[in-house]
Structures are given as structure tokens and as C-alpha cells.
Symmetry: C2
Subunit: 191 residues, 2 copies
């Protein structure tokens, strides 16, 4: 066909992750400096900075959901707890992707001038996760709010204590597990 790529998209996604950590924002110049990919090549591949960032985010989300949804939908009695623990583990096995997830707000990636198919993939991923959490809540008669906290918010908060610079220690898993249980435990009516 034609010339094949010199760089992997994944190298670029990883660079975005480390720039997020180092500078808190991502300029194309910084990506060029970090990866060696030329600016022309970046535009050839992605079309715009916004698309590049959105693709980076989607890549991270999909990798995460692969594990998270598998755990949540596996059905065992501790499916929820195992799903909650996916977050700290993901931080250890796929650090750059975890950083992207921890640093970006998903609302950034709904701009209507992203390419059609990318927008579809993004909203697909969002809906898939939302639906899974929702039916987990329904099936167990937990409030949705409790599930969102226990499955997502608390685990994320825990790893953020360390994420940008330090490794996420094993000790965190205990806290995540217990925070999950605290979220889904049945309430008393008062306080």
C-alpha cells in the first residue's frame, strides 16, 4: 500500500499522560519534544489537537472499562468490591492511562467538532459504564448514588492521593475495599 507508521499511537498517548503530570496541560510542541513525532505527522494522524486528546482519553477509558466491566458483570457476590479494586490495580499495571483518566474531565470530549465516529465511541463508552453501574445498583437494590461513590468516586480519590508522581501502594486496596462497603451498606433512617 504505502509507507507504514514510524510511531505507535500508543507512544503519543503515553506522552500526553506524562505531560499532564509534568505540566498539567498538553501543547503540541511539548508532544513533539517528548516523542520526536513531527507536527505535520501529528496533524496527519489526528487532524486536530482536540481529536488527539479525545483519542488519548478514549484509549484510556476503553482499557479501563475492559477490566472494570468484566469485574462488575462477573456476577459473584463480591463483584462490586472487585470492580472497585480494579482502579488501584489499573494504576499499577497501566500507569499512563490511569493518569489520563485521573487528570481529564470527560466533559472536555463532547465538542461537536470532533469526528463523528470518535464522538460515537466516546458516548458509547460512557453509556456502557453508566448502564453497567445502573444495573448493578438495580440488581442489588442499592441507591445509584451509593454505587457511583463506592465503585468509582472513592477508588479514584484514593489513587489520586498518589497518582501523579508516586506509585499507588498496595495499602490503598484495603481502604478502597472498605470504602466501597461503607457506601453500599444499608442505612439507618436517622443520621
Amino acid at each position: 500500500m504505502a509507507r507504514s507508521s514510524t510511531f505507535d499511537d500508543s507512544q503519543i498517548f503515553a506522552a500526553v499522560g506524562s505531560l499532564l503530570v509534568r505540566d498539567g496541560n498538553v501543547t503540541l510542541q511539548a508532544i513533539v519534544a517528548e516523542t520526536g513525532v513531527s507536527i505535520g505527522s501529528l496533524y496527519h494522524r489526528f487532524g486536530s489537537r482536540e481529536t488527539l486528546l479525545a483519542r488519548t482519553w478514549l484509549d484510556a477509558v476503553e482499557a479501563f472499562q475492559l477490566e472494570f466491566l468484566a469485574a462488575l458483570e462477573s456476577g459473584g457476590s463480591d463483584a462490586g468490591k472487585r470492580a472497585a479494586l480494579v482502579t488501584p490495580r489499573f494504576c499499577r499495571t497501566q500507569r499512563e492511562r490511569a493518569i489520563v483518566l485521573a487528570c481529564c474531565r470527560q466533559e472536555e470530549f463532547t465538542s461537536p467538532d470532533l469526528p463523528e465516529d470518535l464522538l460515537r465511541s466516546i458516548s458509547g463508552a460512557n453509556h456502557r459504564a453508566a448502564a453497567a453501574i445502573c444495573s448493578y445498583a438495580d440488581n442489588n437494590a442499592y441507591p445509584l448514588e451509593a454505587c457511583r461513590l463506592g465503585l468509582v468516586a472513592f477508588p479514584l480519590a484514593a489513587v489520586r492521593l498518589y497518582l501523579p508522581d508516586q506509585p499507588v501502594p498496595e495499602s490503598i486496596d484495603q481502604y478502597v475495599g472498605r470504602a466501597f462497603l461503607s457506601a453500599i451498606q444499608k442505612r439507618h433512617s436517622g443520621i
Copy 2:
């Protein structure tokens, strides 16, 4: 002496908060549009964009710590739990400031070209909070990690479920209280 200010700093700080929510970033032009303060006036007051943002953050942190430290250092047996609950309450009573705290990373505000006194105030605030959490941990023989999670990370995670756009519901307080307890409860050696 001389002419007095037309605008309150607090109006500007509030505008930064709403811009953070709406756009996720804050340009001076946007502040001008939002508040009506002129660009010249902004520079006269703050000297640089960076200083403006740092002052906004400091304003929010100090307001928060006023309540948080009072609760934490009040001494009662449930001082920790009350301190944890300061976060959701602060979100209700001082929304803009809470938003600033929830959206900014404090590492942004350590750049050496901020004015001397501002840097001192910022690091003072950081140390004050860190020290308070530390001695709370010591006094109760809790791991520091547990206290950071229970007092800060979990409460913040809970309100972030709503913060940018929606009000933080009262129902959150129960979850925050229980997550705090789950963090400081004594561990079993295994899992």
C-alpha cells in the same frame, strides 16, 4: 488617599470559579467578559494571571480551612467525622470557593515567580493543614494515609459527584461520614 476600587476581589474570584466550571480553564479575556473589570485593572490589582489564580485559590483554601481546622482541632471524640463533613457543607454555603478547590491542583501555585508574600501564605496554609491532619493521626494512632483519605480525599470525591453543575445533596453527608469511619477503622492483618 486615592480612588477606591469599583470591584471587589471576591467578585473576580467568583468569576474564576464559574469559568472553571464552564470552560475548565480561565483566560483573562473571559474574566473581563464575566465581570466587566478591565484588563488594565486586572493587571493593576494582580500583576499577572498566575498571581490572580493563586490569590483565588488561597482565598478559597483559607475560607475552607477556617471551618475544617476548627472542627478537626475541636477535640471531641467525633472531631474527625465533623471535619470530614465540613467539605459537603462548605460546598453548600460557599459554592464558588468550593468549586475552585475542587478544580485546581495546588501544585500549580508554587511557581517561584509569584510574589514573596503570596508564596508564603500559600505554603503556610498548606503546612497548617498538613500539620493538623498529622497530629490528628498521631493523637489517635491512626495511619496518616487513613486520615488523608477519610478527612480529605473521600469527602472531596463525594462532592465532586455533583459539584460542577449540581447542588451537593444532603444525602451525601451520610456517605461521607461512613467513608470516614471506614478509613480510620482498625485493620485486620490480612486482606
